[in-house]
């Protein structure tokens, strides 16, 4: 793997131990994955909730935070994925003191590194969307797949350590989705059905993710009868990445690199449609009709999703907890426009800067007696089985109805 002069200097420790660790980490990862050199990145985005970090991960960050300022500061704009709590709601969520304390330590360490605590997985909707062709080190699968596919940016899945390394060095190993060859289509999916609701977009993304089943495969989808919106593609991509570890897709006639996805001739298509989505939904519909909690999260809600939730809850009361999780960028707008007040007037909770599955989901379930969980997020449905939940995937309207009656529709 070729290193330029600056990387060589970092490797020799001339810019401190933090950058030395970072470039050593990048060399190990890059060699494993066949990178030939390093590519400069415009931003890094770090996933680092403390359930993932644990005490060991927080202590790892604190070692960097204790280094001299010149050596520890990130070199490119570096932002964060959701945290493990909303500090203002931790007591209501029955999160334990040690969780909050660990989160505070992680935040302090990141701030010492010069990281911007954006705490969001929808930065492409709220912070700064990347430009086509811009190389990034994004650390959330939903962010990566959206930005690669819809916006034409170039990023691999960069887990927290690698995103941190990219922030510290300003570059990342050039493999995978930084390369033209990896961005070409490798699976043709034809459909005669265009989803309507967000949970259907997520479910279809999940079906295609399972079909692809591999980080290195790039589905090309043909047959939608309209151009999907940003929230629809957000759920579609997040679920595809979750169910299949997929990092990029093309939609013919929509996404920017779709026209060049295949050489001639095109591969034989796989057909998916409404029936496949119905089958996926049915997998989660076998846990009885009682519901313990309703969650809108994963990805965090956009302002438009917050508006939709508010409209559905107007003049209603929830009888089981309903959590609407958004970003710290959307929340002030939701406050200012009265959306938060309308949602919380129903008894529901608006949470900010966290994401349900990244917030000690197992302990949340045990502390609150939550097992049967309704959501319109296919991604969340896919994740939570391992945390002891019996999730069910419904429309936003059905979820609100479930929250107001305690029963699944």
């Amino acid at each position: 793997m070729h290193l330029h002069d600056e990387a060589e200097a970092m490797l020799r420790g001339e810019q401190g131990q933090a950058r030395r660790w970072a470039v050593e980490h990048q060399i190990r990862v890059g060699r494993y994955l066949g990178a030939r050199d390093l590519v400069p990145v415009g931003q890094a985005h770090i996933m680092a909730d403390t359930e993932s970090l644990g005490e060991a991960g927080v202590a790892f960050l604190e070692r960097f935070a204790a280094m001299p300022e010149q050596q520890r500061r990130v070199r490119v704009p570096t932002i964060t994925d959701p945290r493990g709590t909303d500090f203002g709601a931790a007591v209501r969520l029955k999160q334990q003191d040690w969780m909050v304390a660990l989160e505070r330590r992680a935040v302090a360490a990141f701030e010492a590194l010069g990281v911007l605590m954006t705490n969001t997985c929808i930065n492409y909707q709220t912070i700064m969307p990347p430009v086509r062709g811009e190389h990034m080190a994004y650390g959330d699968t939903g962010v990566v797949i959206y930005c690669n596919s819809v916006l034409g940016a170039r990023s691999n899945f960069e887990g927290g350590p690698s995103a941190l390394a990219a922030g510290l060095t300003g570059f990342t190993p050039r493999y995978g989705y930084h390369l033209d060859a990896c961005r070409r289509g490798s699976l043709l999916v034809e459909t005669d059905w265009t989803p309507a609701a967000l949970h259907e977009w997520g479910a279809l993304g999940g079906v295609i993710g399972r079909l692809a089943g591999d980080y290195w495969r790039v589905p090309v989808i043909a047959g939608f009868d309209r151009v999907p919106g940003s929230d629809e593609l957000k759920h579609f991509g997040a679920a595809m990445a979750s169910f299949g570890s997929v990092a990029m897709f093309h939609i013919e006639g929509v996404t920017p690199e779709a026209a060049d996805a295949f050489d001639s001739p095109r591969p034989a298509p796989v057909t998916v449609g409404r029936q496949a989505v119905a089958s996926l939904l049915a997998e989660y519909a076998t846990g009885g009709d009682k519901v313990d909690v309703v969650v809108f999260s994963a990805p965090q809600l956009s302002l438009l999703e917050m508006q939709a939730v508010a409209a559905m809850l107007d003049n209603r009361r929830v009888v089981v907890p309903l959590l609407a999780v958004t970003s710290p960028q959307v929340k002030p707008d939701a406050d200012r426009m009265g959306l938060t007040q309308r949602i919380e007037a129903s008894g529901a909770m608006v949470l900010s800067g966290m994401c349900f599955y990244q917030s000690y989901a197992r302990e949340l379930g045990e502390a609150n007696g939550w097992r049967r969980l309704a959501t319109n997020s296919a991604k969340l449905t896919n994740i939570l089985g391992g945390y002891g939940y019996a999730p069910v995937l419904l429309s936003m309207e059905q979820c609100v109805e479930a929250a107001c009656t305690g029963r699944l529709p």
């Binding site: 996933m47 899945f157 887990g159 690698s162 570890s245």
Partner: protein
């Protein structure tokens, strides 16, 4: 003794009993990391301990959390002895690099079908090319 060459590896050479399934792997989606078992009910290894074994699975799946979680698991000693896959995603490589774990991937055969569950195996990550050796068959009784 049967040996299988791999395309890539990192970490030290280790020996251990193989825990094998044709399923995928994500530390967040599949594990109860406190109990050290596979917890996702649909996983082929649901209920089985992953601690100290050579974990042989088809592919890495899911999200980015594994990159931190392997490090956290290693710090508590609740971790597989080695990770072996047919196919990895970058997160597994990043996580193994941070955790200083032994990992190997990319075989000419489906390694989940080639190695019997319970076999004693050696993951020689330092060989060139890397090699997985089946030392003896599955323990019985």
């Amino acid at each position: 003794m049967t040996a299988y060459r791999a395309a890539a590896a990192m970490g030290r050479t280790v020996r251990g009993r193989a825990l094998v399934a044709s399923d995928g792997f994500s530390a967040r989606y599949d594990l109860d990391r406190i109990a050290g078992i596979f917890s996702r009910p649909q996983h082929e290894l649901a209920g089985r301990s992953y601690v100290g074994v050579v974990l042989i699975l088809d592919r890495a799946k899911g999200g980015v959390a594994t990159a931190w979680m392997l490090h956290e698991m290693a710090a508590r000693g609740i971790v597989p002895a080695a990770l072996v896959f047919n196919t990895v995603n970058p997160i597994m490589a990043q996580g193994a690099a941070l955790a200083d774990a032994t990992m190997m991937s990319g075989f000419e055969v489906d390694i989940t079908r080639a190695v019997p569950d319970g076999a004693l195996v050696e993951v020689d990550a330092e060989a060139v090319p890397p090699v997985l050796r089946v030392i003896s068959g599955a323990e019985t009784g």
